[in-house]
Symmetry: C2
């Protein structure tokens, strides 16, 4: 059995070629450039995927990590990072490009949760919540070792917890604590104040730059990360009071900031818990599988589907 | 088998005497008056319970609905409505008062959820969320027909979702949408403005009075209920995006306001859903078992525990 795995994210697209034991035999990646026309973006995914398929071979099955709560339908829709994609049948298009092999798409957060539970930092935790904080905020829940997806497969969209911010308007957690949000918060602070900051030297400040400036000690950048961390902590608090998880496993690029963002997040959560029994020394954990977590999860998931059909 | 069931709530205490088929043979109730000294409150519960036990009989088991996420331990602690009760062993005290019979306490929201799932408005819904909006806000989750309680039995405290309100401070959902909150919001509005309202004729306005004034068309009271409904809708939104429930069953005294509070709550939720697929014609339902729901749930639960030990 050979599995082609595709992780189509808002920023990067990754592809992997796995054997039946889920060894990653080949991988490649590129920028998703989702502002390009749909057909261009999709052809870029297919071209990239072809690079990891050995000459003369064909995948037994294809697993795809897709954005949006309805990814399991095979369609891209209601994805925060792809606002203009409306019921695009990505799974079918990719299946046909590889000769019609069995192809299954699932939500990226759900697949990463599966991978971290079976092979990463969440092994055996029950319940285990996975949160990815990157361009957006997504996640997945593992209960009793199985993916929890709710009534219609739409469960666990933690990025869409809504909070009124200082301006009185409602913002989703994704708009307050993701990498995108960190970039926006910094640009607002730079425009509103005259505070000195190394960020003033750059024309277009994004979340990654803010993270680097914060790691270098820039006070404005540190303040912004602290604010995003506070909102993330309010998100943790909601998840902990509702799910009482044994572990919250954190992935995504923002997590690389480590304690810079996690300390204020943990502090906000701890200050507001109704009992410290919700907490534990290892409640909030950094993911173990790195940037290929979705590739691994998609391969794991589609392998299970193929095996249960045999 | 005879079961004594006790529902010790923040406002009222109810007791019931059930046979093995969960027929309610006798019931009584009184005010909890929780501001009295602990011993007085506990003796009042025991005296009330004795009134429904037939002369010469003894319960096979006692089920207690208690407040706070740790009720399952048999102790009252961290209960929002009983802030000064610290690890009070209520289950043991009541067991001893009735000759040491098997006694089990569980969180009131969890037990009401069980009852509504098996015998009420949530039959067969998966996942089913139960929310009680009364003095406080509590609830329970039924997944695949079973109570979901999380890692340490503390799951699902929806009253403790936190939101920053207009003053910038953090409030729990319980402090924004419960009966207690409705009373507070009305008192604040009366103090801050000169708006005419029938509520100005009363010296100490509480949530019940606001509800009655709103039902009579009082504009200030209607505004307050609308505001509480908006916050409740933000709570629904969080629960729906996280659990994707097939039904949210609503109990508690505030629910008696019906569409006055539920319409703004539904509207806020619907306006903010990331896809209408989360919604359904019967997603938000009013509970079916009335004010005895916790009595029924406690009797059902302890009967199951006794039967599994036989």
């Amino acid at each position: 059995m050979s599995i082609l795995s595709i992780d189509f994210g808002g920023t990067r697209t990754r592809v992997g070629w796995f054997d039946a034991d889920l060894h990653l035999l080949a991988r490649d990646e590129t920028l998703s450039l989702v502002q390009d026309p749909q057909a261009v973006v999709i052809n870029r995914i297919i071209d990239l995927a072809r690079r990891v398929v050995p000459p003369g071979e064909k995948p037994t099955a294809i697993g795809i990590c897709g954005p949006g709560p309805e990814a399991y339908t095979g369609l891209i829709m209601n994805a925060a990072t792809l606002p203009n994609w409306d019921r695009v049948p990505l799974a079918q298009i990719i299946s046909e490009a590889f000769g019609g092999v069995p192809t299954h798409m699932e939500n990226d957060g759900n697949l990463a949760a599966l991978a971290e539970y079976h092979m990463g930092a969440g092994k055996g935790a029950n319940p285990m919540l996975y949160l990815t904080v990157s361009t957006g905020i997504g996640g997945g829940v593992i209960l009793d070792g199985r993916l929890f997806t709710g009534w219609r497969g739409l469960a666990f969209e933690p990025g869409h917890l809504k909070f009124p911010a200082r301006d009185g308007k409602l913002y989703s957690l994704e708009a307050l604590a993701s990498g995108t949000a960190i970039g926006r918060l910094a640009r607002e602070r730079l425009a509103e104040s005259a505070e000195p900051s190394i960020l003033r030297e750059f024309p277009a400040v994004d979340g990654r730059m803010v993270g680097e400036a914060a790691q270098g000690g820039d006070p404005l950048a540190l303040d912004v990360i602290q604010e995003a961390g506070h909102w993330l902590g309010l998100g943790f608090l909601a998840l902990v009071h509702l799910f009482n998880p044994q572990a919250i496993v954190l992935g995504g690029s923002v997590t690389k900031l480590g304690d810079l963002i996690l300390n204020p997040a943990r502090q906000t959560m701890r200050d507001l818990l109704i009992t410290p029994l919700y907490d534990g020394p290892d409640l909030i954990r950094v993911a173990g599988l790195g940037e290929d977590v979705c590739l691994i999860g998609a391969a794991y998931h589609v392998r299970g589907l193929v095996q249960s059909n045999e």
